[in-house]
């Protein structure tokens, strides 16, 4: 009883003490800055706190850790920064689509159709793409840049486009509407005792179409087992929307042309193609191509595919062939594509992504299902003309493709057995145990340590042409000021992010078009890197002011300068 009483008294004492202490502690800090500020700087000129959105650590450790590092660095510069952790779908809706953000990071994938830098230079930075839902997330709106972008988009002459692209990269590197931070070095693994000729491609790594065509078995086990943490969802090319579905459909359906491993367009179902003028392309079809059900693939199927995509408003195909006006059959094996306006990437980003559908199947299904029905049709078994044929699929369990030995570019393997995992831990263990032969996962440093002793495993590396971007919002202050953006960018500790967050498995990025993309990359640009002194100087020269606590204020009689020139 005595002890209890003493405890109660003690507890009361502690509570009273802490309340008093808190009050005392909070009093001076509440009043002090107000007094000081009112003397020197106007409270209204204070730069509002920046909101940095990050994902949870488990969802993406890169965005979590790099986001915090950047925010800390900005605080050092005198900005107030609030960090908010968000679920990706929310961030995507609010930031990517709604453009309500201040700053957040996303990793833009380096798929093969982005080797032609239309996505990086036009879609992400042209002013017309800055409306709600557009991919010009920063809201970049520079008339000088727009003029270059229009020329870049419509001129069919590649050398002119490369020239414009170089100039555009230069402007972006200095204006930094949304700086790229780092390109990952994709690190993937396969079983070298069983397979040879594994071919990672720029941006897609081992997911690349060319890997599946080239990989060669060394033993009698010719069905390659592929592990991935993501599963496919829907094999309907009209409505497909996830990267995984697209990779698989790419193996089952053949487009007229493909983008090869170096980023060059090569004829595929087309024997050849001819750019007649800015809006006319003639295509000669390859002979003796058959669908997996044995029916021949003709110009009728090609014309049907493009017409059909328009008729049913296929969300995926339409986004690729917006510039297409009409397709005509001009000879037994020749077609003419008419564009409604000149659109330079039409071949690499349009024709290369539209797999040719068998008319006899889709016409019949369309009759039965109607427009809404055809868009959500499962499309099983998936019949195309590609080098791999659909065999069976048990969602969340496994997906089997067998090789089309009659294809003009027949694979060396007998098929691909694709196994979806729930976590990369499972992929690593299954690689070690030999249950799977190859993975498309990007291995993290810890996982590489785990497989270091497995002698049958080989690591392949290739730099990603996609990168992590930090998206600012130029619709809001202080991001509407080029000097503020440059200073904020100079405060991004790129090297530390590469070393700490990526464990060294990344390259610092300066241009929105990656260095590995040799055809298009411009290295003669301003390379803004981490330098706090330069960042402070940039702000000082533009007239920004600091108070006694080191907090930043807008310049006097402030008019933001949006672009360098």
């Amino acid at each position: 009883m005595k002890i209890k009483k003493i405890l109660v008294v003690l507890l009361v004492c502690v509570m009273v003490f802490s309340i008093v202490a808190c009050e005392k502690a909070s009093e001076p800090t509440d009043n002090q800055p107000v007094q000081e500020e009112s003397v020197v700087l106007n409270e209204a000129d204070k730069i509002p706190a920046l909101e940095m959105w990050i994902t949870s650590q488990t969802y993406d450790p890169v965005r979590y850790e790099a986001g915090i590092m950047i925010a800390d660095s900005w605080k050092e510069l005198g900005f107030d920064v609030n960090i908010t952790t968000m679920e990706w779908a929310t961030m995507s809706a609010e930031g990517m689509a709604g453009h309500k953000h201040d700053a957040f990071m996303i990793q833009w994938g380096g798929k093969s159709e982005r080797i032609d830098p239309f996505h990086w230079l036009y879609t992400m930075h042209y002013s017309g793409e800055g409306e709600e839902g557009g991919y010009n997330v920063a809201g970049y709106n520079n008339p000088k840049y727009d003029a270059l972008a229009e020329e870049f988009a419509t001129n069919m002459d590649t050398s002119v486009r490369i020239e414009k692209s170089a100039e555009m990269q230069k402007i972006l590197a200095s204006d930094v509407p949304q700086p790229p931070i780092a390109h990952r070095i994709l690190t993937q693994v396969y079983n070298k005792d069983k397979y040879d000729n594994v071919t990672p491609a720029m941006g897609e790594g081992l997911y690349s179409f060319w890997n599946w065509i080239n990989v060669t078995p060394k033993t009698d086990d010719k069905i390659i087992k592929f592990g991935s943490v993501l599963d496919i969802k829907l094999l309907n090319p009209l409505t497909t929307k996830t990267g995984q579905d697209i990779y698989m459909l790419n193996l089952i359906y053949d487009p007229l042309v493909r983008v090869d491993i170096k980023g060059q367009v090569v004829p595929w179902l087309a024997e050849s193609y001819d750019v007649i003028d800015d809006t006319t392309i003639d295509v000669t079809l390859r002979d003796n191509v058959k669908f997996h059900d044995g029916k021949p693939l003709t110009v009728e199927d090609v014309k049907f595919t493009f017409d059909f995509a328009k008729e049913v408003s296929s969300p995926y195909y339409l986004s690729k062939i917006k510039a297409l006006d009409s397709v005509e059959i001009i000879a037994e094996n020749e077609l003419r594509f008419k564009l409604s306006e000149p659109f330079a990437p039409f071949i690499s980003n349009g024709l290369a992504l539209v797999g040719i559908l068998p008319k006899h199947i889709w016409e019949k299904e369309y009759e039965e299902r109607g427009m809404e029905g055809i868009l959500s049709w499962e499309n099983l078994p998936t019949i195309g003309s590609g080098p791999f044929m659909f065999d069976y699929w048990r969602p969340n369990e496994e997906f089997m493709l067998t090789s089309n030995k009659e294809h003009f570019s027949a694979p060396k393997t007998d098929g691909i057995l694709r196994i979806p995992f729930t976590q990369s831990f499972g992929v690593v263990q299954s690689l070690k145990s030999g249950e799977i032969d190859i993975t498309g996962n990007n291995m993290l440093p810890l996982e590489l340590e785990e497989i270091a002793n497995a002698e049958h495993l080989q690591t392949v590396e290739i730099a990603d042409q996609g990168s992590y971007f930090l998206h600012y919002n130029m619709r809001k202050a202080p991001f509407n000021d080029v000097h503020a953006r440059r200073a904020l960018t100079m405060a991004i500790p790129k090297q530390a992010i590469v070393d700490v967050v990526f464990g060294g498995r990344a390259l610092k990025a300066y241009s929105v078009v990656a260095e590995i993309n040799e055809t298009w990359h411009n290295s003669d640009i301003e390379k803004i890197d981490y330098n706090m002194n330069n960042a402070k100087k940039e702000l000082e020269d533009a007239g920004f002011r600091w108070d006694e606590n080191g907090k930043l204020y807008f310049p006097e009689n402030y008019v933001p300068q949006e672009y360098l020139d």
């Binding site: 990706w88 779908a89 982005r114 917006k322 369990e397 249950e435």
Partner: protein, 325 residues
């Protein structure tokens, strides 16, 4: 008659509960920011294509109208098409539900078998070292995170000893002509062992502790003394006389645990790559696949409501005073 009236009343209440649930689910998922197309940014769909997709999903209409359409379709038995898979959400869920049920029912049977026998044994040897150590082990297993237990078992039986598979439901590359063939084979059983045991270890502690407490009460009863006085063997008294009586409270918690089991299967399914419903629900929510998420949660709701109804009716049957209220 009274009982019949009571049952009708309970069923009506259940239907009303489900209707409220359906409504809450419908709005809950749509209130959260984000929509299904925001998850497909990476495939580079432009604005117009995104709008086409939203229209295709019926999400371009005002939310009130969407709700009316949804309820109308629901009454016709149409749960809507999954945004991710294109096909009927009910069909997608049904396949996964089957897999989850097989795993969970197996694990519950193991759990209650372990729980009841061990609980009875511990109570019988109360206040001995055996009792103390047994209870502590049960508590430790109960407190350990389920994925952790799973990983430990995996590393022992799959990585080190290599006698059980790493995960999945079948060895990759097997073909089946029909569903029965898929489940009725030795390979499937081998894949079932680790996840089922992991889940069982986790859920065995509750029946074990309840059984132990209940046994301790029963042991004090006069008829146990009487049995002893008759000179019956200890084992026989424990099994035939004590355990039977002590079982009643354990049976009650079975219903509760069954409800939890479906929801709690997410972690097990993730660790063991089990193609079940828990995993699908997580994906559906993060992809904003409203029809699939709504259907899955509705199914869980229906199951819980049904179990409650059965429990209510059983209580009324066992104790007629309940029906009077």
């Amino acid at each position: 008659m009274r009982l019949l009236k009571y049952i009708t009343k309970r069923i009506l209440v259940m239907l009303l509960t489900l209707f409220v649930l359906v409504t809450i689910l419908f709005f809950l998922f749509r209130v959260v920011p984000g929509d299904p197309v925001s998850m497909f940014i990476d495939s580079g769909l432009d604005r117009e294509s995104q709008e086409l997709l939203l229209k295709h999903y019926g999400l371009d209409k005002p939310i009130g109208q969407q709700y009316i359409i949804y309820i109308k379709n629901l009454l016709k038995g149409d749960f809507g098409n999954s945004f991710q898979y294109g096909k009927s959400a009910l069909e997608v869920i049904a396949e996964r539900f089957c897999n989850t049920m097989i795993l969970m029912v197996t694990s519950l049977i193991i759990a209650f078998f372990i729980g009841i026998t061990a609980g009875a044994a511990l109570a019988w040897k109360r206040n001995t070292k055996f009792d103390m150590i047994g209870t502590i082990i049960a508590l430790i297993v109960r407190c350990a995170p389920i994925f952790w237990t799973g990983m430990i078992l995996l590393s022992i039986f799959a990585f080190k000893l290599k006698i059980l598979p790493l995960g999945g439901m079948n060895t990759p590359g097997m073909r089946f002509d029909n569903l029965l063939e898929k489940y009725l084979n030795f390979d499937f059983l081998k894949h079932l062992i680790l996840p089922a045991v992991t889940a069982a270890l986790y859920s065995a502690a509750t029946p074990l502790l309840v059984m132990r407490t209940s046994m301790l009460e029963v042991i004090k009863e006069d008829y146990i003394e009487l049995a002893r006085a008759k000179g019956l063997k200890e084992k026989r008294i424990m099994r035939k006389h004590a355990m039977r009586t002590a079982l009643l409270p354990v049976v009650t918690i079975f219903a509760v645990q069954a409800g939890f089991a479906i929801g709690g299967s997410v972690l097990i399914e993730t660790v063991f790559r089990w193609p079940g419903m828990g995993r699908e629900i997580v994906l559906a929510v993060s992809f904003r696949d409203y029809p699939l998420a709504q259907t899955a949660f509705l199914l869980i709701g229906v199951m819980t409501a049904l179990f409650n109804l059965i429990a209510d009716i059983l209580y009324a049957y066992l104790d007629p005073r309940v029906a009077l209220d």
